[in-house]
Amino acid sequence: MKKSTRKGFRLNRRGFLKATGAMGLATAAGGFPGLVKAQAKEILIGSIQPVTGPLAVIGQGQRRAAELAVDMINSKGGIRSMGGAKLKLLLGDSQTQTEVGRSEADRLIKEGAKIIVGAFESGTSMAIATLCEQRETPFLIDVAALDDITKKGYKYTFRIFPTSTAFAQRGVAFIKEILAEKRLSPKRAVVSYVGDAFGKTQGAFFIKHFKESGLGIDIVEEISYPLGVPDLSAEVAKIKAAKPDLLFPICRPGDSTILTRELYKQRVELMGIISPGSPGWYEPSVIKDLDKLVLYVMDNVPWIFPESPVYKEANDLMLKRHQAYLETNNGYAFTAILVVADALERAKSTDAGKIVAALRSTNFKDHPMVGDAIKFDENGDNLGATTAMVQVLPDADPLKRVKVVLPKRFAQADYVFPAPQLWERG
């Protein structure tokens, strides 16, 4: 039987390979010039977050915010000083593990990332900072508070998040401001903290700075309990016995509800509950579950600035795309990309040295967070970073109850202090 006697085009394996091979050759030789040019104008940014593992919820939120920021910048014409070059995220997942985070950063640098952004956890960020110093690649930390990361004299590492020290100092300063304004002089305080790495560090830093502050308030009891504790009745009995005026709790979302309910049930009299900076007080689920009991709690946290135009734009997009709000963590992830774009715009190049130089002279105001213009000091820390004192205040819409009350120039409402006792709220 003869082959190809029939007229017409019949595709067999060899024919197909020949045809595609020829097409490939033609492309490689002459090619599509437009396409090649467009690719050259793409700037790769490595983004590393804990997208899986115990912190997955946070990591995924950060990744989404970073993608959102990239899309926003690209839709507004990309990096203009480089002919409208588009940003592109290379995604990495630290799996909430230090080593994985480091190797992911290594992979992204090999794949051509001009700058790395991440990484939420302090340990992972430290590892990536060291790697980036070796690879001479700029690294911008979005969230991670540990002081030491920027204390090593690294040239390539920058951070927009407040340090642990800044955290504690701001917290103490806010407390001072409140007590001075209300002319109150409490004498006794209790610090409670959850016994994981975060709680211990946060607790120790706060206690250290609080004692140095000269406020004249005794910390009469320090109470720690394990993460995921099922019951705090004994601890609250101890708090009650210490007769404090103020309670400084460092919580996670689970234990803040048990703690507050126990305080209510055991009728612990307090001037107020002021968290030195911890989750467990502003999450929608906590506000819904605790309702009136969480009112008037203050928390010293890095926070979004809802009055900023950038916030409104980003939050609307976030709601539309992911049915999620812009909050502290994804807000900082979002801001980091804006800072990178700003630096690239001024560097006019993807050369590492030029990007670092541009980052050094950053003066970036249009971000959605509470804080001044982002400027970096010689360590790479953000001089404009600050926490905000937020307070849960009555509002018909539970999602709008968390309000910035300090610093005054960012305040959305006046704070209420001393707070009415937990059982006197109708």
Binding site: S233, K238, K240, G254, I258, K265, R267, D289
Partner: protein, 289 residues
């Protein structure tokens, strides 16, 4: 010594101990009848908590009122686990019995995670915030109710085992399996029933804990361990022992707060376990009765 604090801690310890007792009674029952340690016990309790939570959120029925319904659901779950898995591994060496039950625990834990997500939840309940003063101390009403119900449930299980035919058959099967088979007791069915009953009690305990503990999928394993310690304290398979052991552990944990930070609570309970093992390995009230 601060007596007000001491009183408060003791009262809280006793009340918490009652619930520990109820969780442990189920474990003890299962061990007493089949000689199997139910490592899925804590996750079953968590399942009970979530079922109860779900009923509260969807139908608005308070955990105290849905208690029987929750117990029934977990009874069915326990029956299935026994019927499908445990019956087939009863004659295996002990080390091999552990793994399937741990696996069931993991499956339950992750099903809860899949169905309800990882966030802790702490819904408002009827008596959730009620408290009554007792001298200088305050008694948490939901804790008191949980304690009373726990004691009542344990008491009725004991009565059931002593007085009814089915209860007597369960005790016969626990005492001498071959003998029970010889006199015509359907030991397989007895096994299914006792496992299901053990599961149901821990499910009920879960419902009672709703006002006290924020729900989280990962609570289970800690409670398996706590129940295990309690059972060993009281004597393996001894139901009254489980209640007594629960009370002792509750008070010990609560009072330990006076001397050590709460992060060390588990050290206290496990030290207690080691001491009992050395001093009275059969448990305070003796095993398997």
């Amino acid at each position: 010594m601060n007596y007000a604090l001491l009183l408060q801690l003791t009262v809280q310890g006793i009340l918490l101990g009652g619930i520990y007792g109820l969780i442990a009674v189920g474990l003890s029952l299962i061990f007493g009848v089949m000689g199997v340690i139910n490592f899925a016990h804590g996750p079953m309790m968590v399942m009970g908590m979530y079922v109860s939570y779900w009923i509260l959120v969807v139908l608005g029925i308070d955990p105290y009122l849905s208690l029987v319904l929750v117990a029934a659901c977990i009874f069915v779950l326990g029956y299935l686990v026994q019927f499908l898995v445990v019956n087939r591994i009863l004659d295996f060496p002990e080390a091999m019995q552990v793994l399937p039950l741990v696996a069931i625990g993991l499956i339950l834990e992750n099903s809860v995670l899949l169905l309800w997500g990882p966030d802790p939840r702490s819904p408002k309940t009827l008596l959730g915030l009620a408290a009554v003063p007792l001298g200088s101390a305050t008694i948490d009403v939901s804790r008191l109710v949980a304690f009373c119900l726990a004691v009542a449930i344990t008491g009725s299980i004991l009565l059931f085992l002593k007085k009814t035919d089915l209860g007597k058959a369960i005790r016969a099967a626990a005492d001498n399996r071959t003998g029970a088979l010889l006199i015509g007791i359907k030991v397989d069915r007895i096994n299914n029933f006792s496992f299901a009953m053990g599961a149901a009690t821990t499910g009920a305990a879960g419902a009672l804990l709703i006002p006290l503990i924020p729900l989280s999928p990962h609570l289970g394993h800690d409670f398996t361990l706590t129940a295990f310690v309690v059972v060993i304290l009281g004597g393996m398979g001894n139901l009254l022992g489980a209640l007594v052991g629960g009370l002792i552990l509750g008070v010990a944990e609560s009072l330990s707060t006076l001397f050590v930070p709460a992060t060390m609570k588990q050290v206290v309970s496990f030290s207690l376990l080691v001491v009992i093992m050395l001093w009275r390995p059969q448990g305070l009230l003796g095993g398997r009765r």
